[in-house]
Symmetry: C2
Subunit: 577 residues, 2 copies
């Protein structure tokens, strides 16, 4: 079976978990009425379910480089056209350039559906979204005029060119060079890992390229951002060559290009030597976007495994030997455990991603004096959304393979594809290790831990509203989060924080998910009589997360507070011997 | 870099963790002197490092079905020949048929090296090992005479034919039919997932096939075991056809065949309708063997990631901005964390696997009155070795990909191959869910929990020898194991046990690994002055496991004791909506 957009779950999470109705009353998002948002969700639900989801498995055959041009899998071009014609590239873009000006929360829900339906294809519009954002924030009016409308209409697509062989997580090490040439620049160098760096679905490709001017300071302070189109105004080629495509474990439909720039014409975006800052303004959204890729995959893998588990008959219920009818494997306790865990983890990731999007929206839309607080909350939650979202995608896709038994290892079922595809989401757009470092470094330090303490205070308030075993569970996670936050803030040596950074990120993510799901649970209880079947499921899934998944936090907390001593207990020689 | 057999670690685990010297004094394994065992390890270390490891990456190109015959990847045939000529198929087989009669513990160490060097190829001799075992235990002297020597010499290889499309975990549902034909039988039916079901490395392939006689009882009590060779004595084909090869996520070098039997000649192994029991006698060893596949992969993925992490330079140490030299990524705290975790998890899996092998050996070699106790210990530990070993392989290979950053997703590095290959080990030879069910069902019930309590008592004794933080950590895991064991034994409804079975297996595995590693730590401290570099590493890795990994048990324990209520809180309709 293929993906079906989970509209009810998405609406529930927006309304009752992230509580995005706070955005509707704002001036900035006056257009985002309930009716408009719902129409958008329904339309994307239809498009993903009917048009994009069928491209997922055939797309695994992969994009190919033929005579220097990337050829996408059959059907991709039509899928992309449907997105372009629907105006989907400009959902969150400014109305003056043809965008709809909707909140990032709505974009996030839309991105979840696209990622769930066909992750490989969804990366192309996602790259364009990031480019639109960068142009909107930093490009000159002339460049905006020239590029924005074409990208928003989907006629042209965008790419991000950061990585070079020697410059991965350490972007400051890049050496691609830019030389002044009149009003413009010439770009020369090689970039790797360029998603959708070339393809046959658009008329032109707009590369945003980080490069270094001859007189630039060394390191990350000497990087500038340029726009380098594949084709120039007169239709001639602009010295951008697709050298090769990477042979990847997954995401075969999405071409990952090595691009060579040879004296290509480029135009400056933002100021000279401020390129990294320009890239960073869209980093939160891009990182959230990748977390949502994990979320979308988790949802899709859950649906996919559920279909198999309810269809596949094997054995009998253990305690009833006399029973002669075979039963579907979902009725075996351990398969049921996996399905519930997949459901609960997916809803946890959705809660964190949507709540992060809301904070980033409120940072622009809230009353002036509240914006900074929302911005810091969004900044703090972003590494959680990116890492926990992608962790969830991996964990749920892994369970999806397991539910399929032997068939999970066979490519024809599609379970393995989710597992392969989602793996890179924990790596790109800043590895999950980089996210954890960002959390315990910049994000904990930006306000001396104030945002972390505000999140803890919100958790404490939610805890007061819990009962019995649910309260006990919340209390345990809360204690883990409070202890580790206190420990982290007490470390003056950043190495000590970094040693526990991954574990701390997992603790805070678990707490935040637990709190958000409990909030949703209370709303479901309040609305129960409207739709008992739906709301009682929401209650059960939240309870499952609290009882079975949230206790993980205790183990992470113990690890988070160990410090770096044992990490460095071996010399390199001892490692290798 | 390619795999290098970790001989020192293996010797340490045998001597000081599993303490296999207990076997040497026994009559059964009188041949297994220290000198013989060490010569065996050294020779396999050389063979795997020099001859088999180079086949790992090229083998990913895969075996192919050409004109009805499976063609193996280049170099496999020579690798297999080296194994055959070295007499490796018969390491644990009886000397009267040309075997060496060495203990399973030695076989386990040898299997670890083969799995680490080239998992796909290693499955072929592993299948033959299982066949040799089945023939030794159940076949008539005539069949033994005819088949054993050829399999032990490696001239012929063996396969296991259990699964059919409708009969996976529920083997009793198989319908392949056997009809009496004079002294022999005719076999007709289709079998799937047959590893090394056909290939070009041997003269004949010996299929062990489960099938049903016309008058057999239904279900698992009506299954018989037959030997069905690919070629008959006169060299003619015997009605066994390779229909197709599965298109798998990994293990591409190992051909997974769909085999069609059409009126093929078969000979009964054991008694009619007792086939499943025959298969089960070798189940412990086969399951341990798959756990060891996870262990071998974990070791290989760790070595592979270590080479990258010490070679790849990126960024500077976080707190020292002034530093101008780039540093290897292993010096970044979170990469170091991953490498230590990979090391610690690998040693934990090795400890459990070797200790399980020792128990299975002692069940045959110990004084008569101790054998039953050892057999029950081996039976109890087997699902732990299978599940925790394969869990470790997956977890460590996943970290190996992450250590590689973007390169981890690119197939050329080989990191992705470990991740893909090892995934199926959690599925075949009884899914890890089946292992967990076996643990809380048969294994806890076989003696009313006596073996579980004996393992807890051993843990308590080890705990008494611990100090400070190590003791605290052991105490916490012990409490988790004791509480969950008590809870499990108190459940009369098997559904309740099964609901927590996966979590319980993880708790018991974590405890057992923690105890074994602590035992090894004490031995390392005692031998410190002999080789401080080596033994201090052993101490540090064990301490790492206790501080950073073992606390996971607390979260699993909370989940294990929840019962089944929340698992079944959703109706099938609610799942799908």
């Amino acid at each position: 079976m293929s993906y079906s957009a989970p509209l009810k779950d998405i609406r529930f999470c927006l309304a009752h978990v992230a509580q995005t109705q706070a955005l509707n009353g704002t001036e900035l998002f006056a257009e985002a009425t309930d009716e408009t948002v719902d129409a958008v969700l329904i339309e994307m639900g239809r498009l993903t379910t009917e048009t994009l989801a069928p491209l997922q498995m055939p797309g695994d055959a992969g994009s190919r480089l033929v005579d220097g041009v990337v050829r996408t899998p059959e059907g991709y071009k039509e899928g992309y056209q449907a997105l372009a014609e629907g105006g989907w590239m400009g959902l969150a873009a400014a109305p003056e350039f043809g965008g709809m000006g909707l909140p990032l929360t709505v974009q996030t829900a839309v991105n979840e559906m696209q990622a769930g339906a066909c992750l490989s294809l969804s990366l192309c519009p996602l790259m364009t979204q990031g480019s639109i954002e960068a142009f909107s924030a930093h490009a000159s009016p002339e460049l905006q005029e020239k590029y924005l409308a074409k990208m928003i209409s989907g006629e042209w697509s965008g790419t991000m060119n950061l990585t070079e062989p020697q410059a991965g997580s350490d972007v400051g090490a890049l050496i691609t060079k830019a030389e002044r040439d009149g009003d413009a620049y010439r770009i020369t160098g090689q970039k790797i890992y360029i998603s959708w760096g070339d393809h046959d679905m658009v008329d032109n490709i707009v590369h945003l390229v980080l490069a270094r001017l001859p007189d630039a300071p060394s390191g990350s302070k000497g990087i500038s951002l340029f726009v380098v189109p594949k084709y120039l105004d007169d239709g001639s080629e602009n010295g951008v060559k697709t050298v090769s495509l990477e042979h990847k474990m997954g995401l075969h439909g999405s071409p990952t290009c090595v691009l060579a720039y040879e004296n290509a014409h480029g135009w400056l975006v933002g100021e000279e030597n401020k390129g990294l800052a320009c890239m960073f303004t869209m980093m939160n959204n891009a990182r959230l976007g990748v977390g949502v890729e994990g979320l979308g995959t988790a949802e899709a893998a859950t649906q996919h495994a559920l279909a198999y588990a309810t269809d596949r008959v094997q054995g009998k219920v253990a305690p009833r030997e006399g029973q002669s009818l075979g039963i579907a494997i979902i009725d075996h306790p351990d398969v049921r455990r996996m399905m519930m865990e997949m459901k609960a983890r997916t809803e946890a990731a959705r809660a964190i991603c949507y709540d992060t999007a809301k904070a980033l929206d409120m940072a622009h839309a809230a009353p002036e004096d509240e914006r900074d607080q929302w911005a810091r909350r969004g900044a703090f939650l972003t590494p959680l959304a990116k890492s926990y979202g992608t962790y969830t995608g991996m964990k749920v896709a892994e369970a999806g393979v397991q539910v399929h038994g032997g068939m999970g290892f066979i490519e024809e079922t599609g379970a393995a594809q989710y597992y392969r595809d989602v793996r890179v989401t924990a790596i790109y757009e800043g590895t999950n290790g980089i996210q954890a470092a960002d959390l315990v470094g910049r994000k904990l330090s930006m306000d001396g831990g104030e945002t972390a303490r505000a999140i803890l205070a919100g958790a404490a308030a939610e805890m007061e509203k819990a009962d019995g075993a649910l309260m006990d569970s919340l209390k345990q996670v809360y204690k883990a989060a409070q202890d580790t936050t206190t420990w982290m803030l007490a470390q003056n040596d950043m190495s000590e924080r970094l040693a526990g950074s991954h574990a701390y990120l997992m603790v805070m993510s678990t707490l935040h998910a637990a709190v958000l799901l409990h909030r949703g649970m209370r709303a479901a209880q309040a609305h129960m009589s409207d739709d008992p079947e739906f709301y009682s499921a929401k209650v059960a899934i939240a309870a499952y997360f609290l009882a079975h998944v949230a206790p993980e936090a205790t183990g992470y907390a113990a690890s988070a507070m160990q410090g770096s001593e044992l990490h460095y207990a071996l010399t390199p020689q001892q490692f290798a011997s």
